[in-house]
């Protein structure tokens, strides 16, 4: 190590921390505004009294609990659907070299580029034809067959050792038996990774749900928050902060608790 390098180490630590502080500040500010009265929203006074009034007010003004429940339903439904559909499709691609599988796979990958939010106009029309406008399944349907999920699981299935498959066959497992006993258990980390990425993506998705939902009964948190934050006559600053925190809280808490898994899942899913 050169002398310069020795000097640069504390500098580096300081820089890393400064950047971290800068990065955390918007969220810290949201916390400040949410837990203090509106008169302190833009005035900083460390002696300002803490209050939960903004949260009470936000909950009274808009049904955030219902929105939260809708979001929960949405991500659960989506994840279940994605797991089933993607598992089957990935299994097909990984283990059955069927006619046209290459072309089919290429067609699947198209969805990596052309995601459903780009086709809002046509997809809205399709769902209107199916009478699924303003329903939670309507939000979920276009995303269920996820190319990303198929891709990830196919990779995982492909790396499953052939010996284990053969052994299971010898024990009398059929096509689905092998899938259930060998492939799926071995791909658990991939499921976890994909699951976390999918949940956080759809928890945060906005444009498509905005287009397809119209009522309190179906609207997810992001859309509820979007409408709440850009009202016709201007809502209160502190209350918007509280509402924002309410909307991100479940995911944020999950993230803080399982930080390592989150980061590793994103890495795992990202490397492909």
């Amino acid at each position: 190590m050169t002398a310069l390098d020795r000097l640069s180490r504390p500098l580096e630590i300081t820089a890393a921390w400064a950047l971290a502080l800068l990065w955390a500040s918007p969220l810290l500010y949201a916390f400040w505004a949410a837990f203090h009265g509106p008169e302190y929203a833009v005035n900083f006074d460390l002696a300002a009294p803490l209050t939960l009034e903004n949260f009470r007010e936000a909950l009274a003004q808009a049904p955030f609990l219902r929105y939260g429940f809708n979001t929960f339903l949405l991500v659960t439904l989506l994840l279940a659907g994605q797991f089933i559909l993607c598992t089957l499709a990935a299994y097909a691609f990984a283990r059955f070299r069927f006619y046209g599988s290459d072309v089919a796979f290429a067609l699947v990958l198209v969805q990596l580029m052309v995601t459903p939010e780009i086709l809002i106009v046509e997809n809205y029309r399709t769902l209107a034809g199916l009478s699924l406008v303003d329903s939670i399944s309507g939000i979920a349907l276009p995303y269920m067959a996820s190319a990303f999920g198929i891709f990830l699981l196919r990779q995982a299935f492909k790396s499953t050792p052939q010996e284990l498959v053969d052994a299971a066959r010898l024990e009398g497992c059929g096509v689905f038996g092998v899938l259930r006993r060998v492939y799926i258990p071995l791909a658990k980390p991939t499921y976890l990774a994909y699951g976390l990425v999918s949940v956080s993506h759809h928890w945060n998705n906005f444009l498509w749900p905005l287009v397809i939902t119209n009522s309190v009964e179906t609207r997810p948190l992001t859309v509820g928050l979007g409408i709440f934050g850009a009202p016709e006559s201007g809502a209160d600053w502190s209350i918007i902060s509280a509402a924002t925190l309410l909307s991100v809280a479940p995911l944020l808490i999950a993230f803080l608790l399982f930080q390592r898994q989150f980061v590793q899942s994103f890495m795992h899913a990202g490397i492909k």
């Binding site: 969220l27 059955f96 089919a104 052309v114 992001t222 995911l251 994103f266």
Partner: protein, 292 residues
């Protein structure tokens, strides 16, 4: 032979559920969008009719279309290189043994798990002239405030800064993964030979990270076309379309102006742009990035 036939049957049967949905929500709408773009806007009194490429001719004359296209380019150029550079720096920080590593990593990564709409809500309070946080801080130093989102010269930079904040931590993850796959001996060897850490980074590390950079780059470009949520809260594309983006304009056209055929025409452009970048990725980059 029988076994062989079964293979095809199983393959297709397993694929069918996903295939139906993929065709219904990706392939069919892509084709339908193109067909729709060839028709005029219709209503119960004057039904839609085939007009060929008339919508495209209109689009070429539409100044807002060119404006949003330019904005998309500015948005991509403004956010991506800086995000990537910051992501590398963050990854290097987090990969070295820092005091309070967990907290630092958390700070960098947290914006990634927040919805863009919430991020925009928070940042709106930063940018609001006079009472916003930025203007207040400027005021402490006796500097005049600025109407960040209301000035066409600063609205894009303001949004770009916010997007960098949101994205850098996400890209960091990919670099972190790459860094963890680089053997520590490499660094020791380089430093033993008297290379400074900067030289090590420039000559050894950065080239090794190149595949990751290309991967992140292409995904970031694709993503930049899809990222419009913030406009709903911050600017609605204003002032005078200074912050408007293609996908938001499509949304406006189709759902505020009810002009689905012109919306389809604009969507075709977006699809073409995505296709170009997808092909670039396929032909140019695939050879250089090693998928696991």
């Amino acid at each position: 032979m029988r076994q062989d036939t079964l293979r095809h049957v199983y393959g297709w049967l397993l694929l069918t559920p996903a295939a139906i949905l993929l065709v219904a929500f990706t392939h069919y709408p892509t084709v339908a969008t193109f067909i729709n773009s060839l028709f005029s806007k219709g209503n119960p009194i004057r039904p839609s009719r085939f007009v060929g490429f008339e919508n495209y001719a209109l689009m070429m004359e539409d100044p807002i279309f060119w404006k949003v296209l330019g904005n998309n380019a500015i948005f991509a150029l403004g956010t991506i290189p800086t995000s990537i550079a910051l992501a590398i720096v963050m990854a290097l920080f987090v990969n070295s043994r820092l005091p309070g590593l967990g907290l630092v990593r958390m700070a960098y990564f947290t914006p990634t798990v927040l919805p863009m709409i919430a991020v925009a809500n928070i940042w709106l309070f930063f940018y609001t002239p006079g009472i916003g946080l930025i203007d207040q801080i400027l005021g402490l130093f006796g500097l005049p405030g600025h109407n960040w989102l209301g000035d066409p010269d600063t609205v894009m930079p303001a949004i770009i800064v916010m997007t960098i904040w949101k994205e850098a931590g996400f890209f960091m993850i990919f670099y972190l993964a790459a860094l963890q796959n680089i053997p520590a001996e490499l660094r020791e060897a380089a430093l033993l030979e008297g290379a400074s850490r900067w030289t090590y980074f420039r000559r050894v590390l950065f080239p090794l990270l190149m595949p990751t950079t290309l991967f992140v780059l292409i995904n970031a470009v694709l993503n930049s076309f899809k990222l419009v949520d913030h406009l709903f809260v911050l600017t609605k594309g204003g002032p005078d379309n200074a912050s408007n983006l293609l996908l938001y304009y499509i949304f406006e056209t189709a759902f505020s102006f009810f002009d689905t055929t012109y919306g389809a025409t604009l969507t075709v452009v977006l699809l073409l742009l995505l296709a170009v970048f997808a092909l670039v990725q396929f032909f140019l980059l695939d050879k250089r990035i090693h998928y696991r």
